[in-house]
Point group: none
Chain length 127, copies 4
DNA sequence: GTGGTCTAGACCACT
DNA sequence: GTGGTCTAGACCACG
């Protein structure tokens, strides 16, 4: 899986890395139990500092998306285990993001039908 | 309309103000043609710097959600002025936010049906 | 409040800082609403890097012990607000630590009465 | 006695092994004079490196919780050999851990009565 | 060889 | 002037 980072975005790089890995898990490109690249490898591949990748992995670990096994690096958690162990505030964050994105879609002229279809499609992608 | 700001959030204050006004327009609490508070009044009410509100208004204006009338301050634009055509016009940022939020909902264990229902409900709220 | 750090301990410095601030809140040396030193000031005072203090503050913030207000630095949260917003796993961690410490006390020959008295005393300190 | 290890915890594996054996001695699952599994057997059973178990045993021996009998492997020490006199002998590390855990319990909203009751219960468990 | 921690110094967005 | 982010390079404990 190749990450596409947008330096110059207002979204911090470590957050972009985190987001793309979350997307990768959700759409199946990253399978449960699969090993993620080592911090050094990913940092090298993306052209960023190891600390930056470290921060992304630390967050993913705290959010229970991955496990940082001291032996074999970081592995994707089983979906059953992704039931918010670490961060109770995340669902609320996600819901707020959802609400805002939908409000913008509405103001952009998208009707209800189109929006619901879009959301369903985004859900299905890569199931 | 009262703004609820979360100082200490990772979302900048001016962006929180911008977001809440967008939400207000979408759910009808703010009607097209309605005057927004003056920068100074809103800053005073929220206990933030006028620079902060100024930044929020500037962004809303640039995004065509409001118009800056020199006499009457900032007013909400007519929906015709905000509306664009079809799916394609959903701003990329909004669509990316949507995709990410839906991915997180999926990983939180929400099934397709529940998600679609939630999105529909969020769309309807305050229509 | 002066922090006493033990470089060379196996406990990471940022964790020592975090722990001492938690202790300070618990025993009243740090009052709710009180401002903590700025990251730079504390780093300077302790002779450590700003990143280290930053990490301690980030953790305290995530654990809901402090608020990092973007305007006025970090402030101690109201006790009512310290009800585990961020990290559900912490109480379990604390309970495990408690269990282990008590086991060691028992093996060190401390009887039940002395232990309970000690725990009560530690609880009262600085109420 | 089966050890339950949490790879991916921030507590090193060898320390988890050490801790669980201490707990086992305290609650009576491990009796004085009882033989511990050989390093190789325990390592095999837990799926860890023999070096890791070795490190745990070395620490336990240094802390006088076990003895390394050249013929029969590691055996749990007689309680007399572990017991010391009174409050003062509580190892500083343990007391600091106790203090911190109690501070966190207090900040989590636990009142004095509940805490003392919990500590007493933890003491009694498996006496 | 892994992740975790730390340093010294820098830039930036936000207020 | 604040916290947040990032870099380049380093050391260490762990396994």
């Amino acid at each position: 899986m190749l990450l596409q980072l947008d330096f110059g975005s207002d979204v911090p790089i470590y957050m972009q890395i985190r987001n793309q890995i979350v997307l990768g898990i959700a759409d199946g490109r990253l399978q449960p139990g699969e090993r993620l690249p080592t911090i050094r490898a990913l940092a090298n591949e993306c052209g960023v500092n190891t600390m930056t990748v470290n921060k992304a992995y630390a967050r993913l670990k705290q959010e229970a998306f991955i496990e940082a096994d001291r032996r074999s690096g970081a592995v994707v958690r089983m979906p059953a285990g992704v039931r918010r162990a670490g961060d109770e505030s995340l669902p609320r964050r996600a819901q707020e993001a959802l609400r805002l994105a939908i409000a913008e879609a509405k103001l952009a002229g998208m009707n209800r039908e189109a929006l619901v279809e879009l959301c369903g499609r985004l859900y299905d992608e890569g199931v």
